[in-house]
Every structure is written in structure tokens, then in C-alpha cells.
Amino acid sequence: MSFASEDSQKLDFAGSPVNQSLSADDKIELFRQMTRIRRFEQASLKMYNKGVMGGFLHLYIGQESVAVGTISLRGEHDHFITAYRDHGHALAVGMGMNECMAELYGKASGCSKGKGGSMHYFAPDKNYWGGHGIVGGQTPLGLGLGYGLKYKELEGCALCYLGDGAVNQGAVHESFNLAALFEIPVVFVIENNGYSMGTSQKRSSSFRGCLAQRAEGYDMEWDLIDGSDLYQVRAKANIAMERARKESKPSVIEIATYRYYGHSVADANAKKYRTPDEIENYKKNHDPIRLWEHRLLDEGVLTEEKSKEIDDAAKKEAADSIEFAENAPAPTVDSIMDDVYWESDNDTEASKIGRHFFND
């Protein structure tokens, strides 16, 4: 595990234009977003462990600065898509805790009506396209969002997040080449948390320099970012996003980050393949929320009091979402058959011709 911040000279990105333009409120808002994500996930962890949810729960805790930092830069025509570790991005684009928590509970008022679960949050109205379970499988879709923008001649970019393990999927390579060849306004964001399940980055990838550097093979721009520094995330991501929007050129950016918990909550080995020291070191020295908080305290933008107020509100919001989810209705068995075909759901002429469903 290596953090960019440990190797590279510490530069201060507070002065970059995109950070300069932040008001005090904006900065506090970033803090609030990261805090909300963490509190939401802590709450979901607690409830998962009580057995009220099914399937997997991949926590984003430790990585909050990536989603919040990049999504804070969004413009009207920017779009987002990620893998199964998707709660952070969901809250960052503006999804509510209620619908997110209810989804974990598998309830009909969940964001995906209980059909998707933790791995499949979606909010097209907020330009958020999921939440995808097949490693690397979302990469061509992210490329396609950029393709759509270009086709429609809109000034925007697609941000497509993927993990350090995902980079070795064939679809990622095909997407990189297509993005560069067709000059698609897409930014591939490698969230490098050092591990794919129990496999450290060096056991899964052969590379020179860093994973993002593979972009050179496609004549694409790339950058490496210290995810624990929110100013840096914003400053550097902004360059890539502007390159996409203004020049219609893709980039690969790799953001060094870390997850506190196991791959998913079911990961019994989380403390075996990583030393306790490594985890502690991150928590103590690299936690993006604590670092941001201190930064804002130093800048005099935030007070301890205000910080606590935000944290308390986030906790309460999360607790409320649990209550919402618990009281929300479960999907009916009949509803299993909805949302398969658009034509059927909309009861169109086409949906009435021929047998669409083969239930015995």
C-alpha cells in the first residue's frame, strides 16, 4: 500500500482556482457531505449486522473524499457511474438517505424499489447511473454516457469510477481505447484503495509507476491524486473534467484512498491481509474527513461546535432513515414481474403482442 501523499512532496492545492472559488459555506457543505456518507454507512453497518438486510454491503468509509470531491465539481451535463461500492456517490449526487436505506432493507420505497440492493443505487434524475455489480462492467457504460453527451453536443463529462482490481478487466481496456480514439468526454476515476478483496494491488496488477499510467498506452492523459486531500482531489479532477468538457478528451485519474472495513461486511479476512498498523495509520494520518475538518478549523471556516452540529445532524438523519426503512412496505410478489420491459410497464400496444413472460 502506498499513498501518493507519503511519496510525493506535499503541495497545497487550496490555491487552485477551483478551490479558491469555494465560499466558507461551500467548504462546510463538503464536510457535511462526507460526514453524511460516513454516518449513513455506519448506520447501515449496524443494521446489516443485525441481519435485517440481505446480500452484500460494501462500505465506502475512508473513501468519502473521492465521491464528494469529484461530484462537487459537477455541472449540469455531468454524469456519474460506479461499481457496487456506490453509497457515497449516491449521497453525493443528492439522493436521500431514506430511499437509500430503504433499498438496503429491500423495501418497495427504496431507490430501486428493493430490486437492486446495496450494489444497485440509481438516480437518473440526478445524473447517477448506478451502482453495478460486475467488476469493470460499468466502464463501457460510462464511456457511453460520454458518447451520448458528445452525440447530443452537450458540454459535459461522464465520470466513471472503478477499483484498482477492476483495471484488469478486458472491458476497461476496450473502453480506454475507444475513449481515446473517439475523443469521448469521459474521466475514468480509479479509486485505488490498495486492495481488490483480499488481494493487494501488487498481487493483481503489473504496472509501471501507477495504474493510471497505463493511459499512456492509449495516448491519454492521466494523473495520480492523493485522496486524503480534498483540495487536491478537486484541483486535479477539475483539470480532467474540464479537458473532457472543453476539449472532448478523456483522462484516467487514479485517486489513492483506503477503505476502513473489509471488502464487504461479509469479509472475514479484512484484518488478515492488511496489518492493523496499516489500517490505524490511515485512520490517524489520512482520514479524509478528519483532515478536511482540521483544515477548515485551521482556516477558521469551521468551529468545533459547528462540526459537532453537522455530525449530530448526520447521525440523526441516518437514524431517521432506519426508521423510514423499517416502516416502509416490502415489495409484493407480484411486483417481481414489473420493471423488466419498458413496453410492458407502460402497457403499450407492443407489450400486448405475443407472450413476453414465461412463468410456468
Binding site: 454524469h79 457511474i81 427504496g110 431507490c111 430501486s112 424499489k113 428493493g114 430490486k115 437492486g116 444497485h120 440509481f122 438516480a123 437518473p124 447511473w129 448506478g130 451502482g131 453495478h132 460486475i134 462492467g137 460499468q138 466502464t139 463501457p140 457504460l141 460510462g142 464511456l143 457511453g144 454516457l145 460520454g146 458518447y147 451520448g148 453527451l149 452525440y151 447530443k152 461522464a158 478486458g170 472491458a171 476496450e174 473502453s175 481505447n177 475507444l178 480514439l181 414489473d338 420493471d339 423488466v340 420491459y341 419498458w342 413496453e343 410497464d345 407502460n346 403499450t348 400496444e349 407492443a350 403482442i353 405475443g354 407472450r355 413476453h356 413472460f357 414465461f358
Partner: protein, 328 residues
């Protein structure tokens, strides 16, 4: 009013008309633009529509099909060519997960109005990897729709229906049909759309039902002639056209009429569309069957290259006649 037209030109006309109708329609694939298409289905379209609407892609099926799916979520309507449907194998995840499931997993927030098209057939001596027949394979995935036209008119009409459909539709064409001719309604006689889910009785008969799709329909029609002339058997030929949605009513109707069925399917014997049709018939027309349903399928080995015998591996009129005679 109609005119004679090649199957490939009927498809091209459908693409051209839909490109005209909806500016979100974009045709993509390997060699579809500057090269005019490996099988010349898209001939002339690039010249007419230019680089934005007719797009050559690298040999990256997972990449460009996934790209099309992603773009379709924003309202683009990509019509993507697989040079051979056999190349589904390298894009399978995009085809059966992203295209088929994204709507469901989002609780209905998204739809994926794509078309994937290309030839899916044996019989051209291109060997095992290039001769897959995946209608049944894809129809097995809820969320997908599949059709397989046998005639130029159906090829045009189904293609237009597929492009207008708001769900993913996989159109299985046939290299051996591209050069066949048939009547197609005049372009100015109104929109020629053949709805998905509607079978077509291609020949009326009374003694036995031959149920097929794609090129097998042509074989059935030839076999029916032989059966009539040489054996006095009057076979009915039902062309499924669409596999999912499936015209179950039409299937049951012909079987209730003739009380016998031979299913002809270019798939291999394990599974395929015909196993499913067989199950549906026995389930819903049990008392109408005078004999077990039998099938003519592709001999159950990977596709052989040899031009000397490949036709014998595939369904053909003689094999159909034999199978009918064995039953009757």
C-alpha cells in the same frame, strides 16, 4: 403495392428510414461505415449519413456495445452490428447483464432502447466459432427481446419495430438469406412495421405443423412442397419470426388444427428455441397431440467446416421430410 427486394436491402431500407425518422438513431459496428458492411447490409449509409450517424468501431465488441448501452440510457438509439452474432461471446456481459438487467435493477428508472443485429447462422463453412445460433440463448434472459426474420419483408418490418421498441431487441439475420429476394411493400405505401411477437403462417396445411424461424422456414416451405407432391401430406408452416415475445397462441392454434408438430431449429439439440416450443405445446395442447412432437436440429457437434457435409449437419428439406414421414 410492393416490389421485389433483397433481404439485405430490405434491412438497409429499414435502417435508412429510421435514421431519417429519428435523429437519435445511430448505426455502429465493425466495418459498417467506410467498408459498407462486411455483408453489405449498410452499403451507402455512411456516404449518405456521414460519420456521426454511421460509426466504424474497433474490434472491441464488449466496449462498443457497452458504449451503445450507456448512450441509450441518455436517449440515443444505437443499432449495433455484430459482424457475426457469434461474436456475442466476447460481449456477453454487456448483452445479458447491462442491456437486460439495468432497467430491473434500477426499479424501472432506466430503459435501454438498443438494437443489436447481425447474421446468426450456420451453412457458410466458417467453422465452429463463427456459426453459433443464439436465439434461444438470449431469449432465455428476461429483459431481452429476440427476433429472426426469414423474408425480406419481415426483415424490414421487424427491424423497424426493433428500432422503435424501447427495450433491447436482438435481431438475428442470416448470411444465407441476405441475397434472397422477396416482395416488400413500397416505401411510400406507409410505414411497414412488423410487430414483435406475431408469428406468420407462411403456408396453410392440415396434416402436420412445421414450426420454425429464420432460414429454417425456407427449408420447411421446400419440405412442405415435397411432402405434398410426393407423399400427399399437407403441411402447415408457421414462421415464429419473433422468439421473445413469442406468439404462443399461433403455435397452439396450428397444433390444435393439425394435431402434429415437427419443430425445425438451427440450434443444437440440447435446448434451443424448439425445446421451449415443444414444452409449451405439450403443456397447453396436450390433448390435441396425436404423436410426440419431434424436432429437426443441427447435429449436436460444433459446426463442421467441410463444405462437403456442413449442409447435412444443418436442418435441410430432406431431413425435415424424413422427420415428418417418421411421425406420420
Amino acid at each position: 403495392m410492393s416490389r421485389k427486394m433483397l433481404y439485405r436491402h430490405a434491412i438497409r431500407e429499414a435502417l435508412d428510414e429510421e435514421l431519417t425518422r429519428d435523429e437519435n438513431v445511430v448505426v455502429m459496428g465493425e466495418e459498417v461505415a467506410q467498408y459498407n458492411g462486411a455483408y453489405k447490409v449498410t452499403e451507402g449509409l455512411w456516404e449518405k449519413w456521414g460519420c456521426k450517424r454511421i460509426v466504424d468501431t474497433p474490434i472491441s465488441e464488449a466496449g462498443f456495445i457497452g458504449m451503445g448501452i450507456g448512450a441509450s440510457m441518455l436517449g440515443i438509439r444505437p443499432v449495433m452490428e455484430l459482424m457475426f452474432w457469434s461474436f456475442h461471446s466476447v460481449a456477453f456481459d454487456q448483452l445479458v447483464n447491462n442491456a437486460a438487467c439495468v432497467r430491473y435493477m434500477s426499479g424501472g428508472l432506466i430503459n435501454v432502447p438498443i438494437v443489436v443485429r447481425g447474421p446468426a447462422n450456420g451453412g457458410t463453412n466458417v467453422g465452429a466459432t463463427h456459426s453459433h445460433i443464439p436465439e434461444g440463448l438470449f431469449a432465455a434472459f428476461p429483459g431481452l427481446k429476440v427476433c429472426a426474420p426469414a423474408t425480406p419483408a419481415d426483415a424490414k418490418g421487424l427491424m423497424k419495430a426493433a428500432i422503435r421498441d424501447n427495450d433491447p431487441v436482438y435481431v438475428m439475420e442470416n448470411t444465407l438469406l441476405y441475397g434472397t429476394e422477396g416482395e416488400v411493400p413500397e416505401a411510400d405505401a406507409g410505414d411497414h412495421v412488423v410487430p414483435l411477437g406475431k408469428a406468420d403462417l407462411k403456408r396453410e396445411g392440415s396434416d402436420i405443423s412445421l414450426i420454425a424461424h429464420g432460414r429454417s422456414v425456407i427449408h420447411c416451405l421446400a419440405a412442405a412442397e415435397t411432402l405434398k407432391e410426393e407423399h400427399g401430406i399437407n403441411a402447415e408452416v408457421l414462421d415464429l419470426r419473433s422468439i421473445r415475445p413469442l406468439d404462443q397462441e399461433a403455435i397452439l392454434e396450428t397444433v390444435r388444427k393439425t394435431n402434429r408438430a415437427v419443430l425445425v431449429d438451427e440450434s443444437k439439440g440440447f435446448g434451443g428455441v424448439s425445446a421451449m416450443v415443444s414444452h409449451l405445446i405439450q403443456e397447453h395442447a396436450f390433448d390435441h397431440l396425436d404423436a410426440p412432437i419431434t424436432r429437426v436440429t443441427t447435429l449436436d457437434a460444433p459446426a463442421i467446416y467441410s463444405p462437403h457435409v456442413e449442409n447435412e449437419q444443418l436442418p435441410n428439406p430432406k431431413r425435415i421430410v424424413d422427420k415428418v414421414l417418421a411421425q406420420a
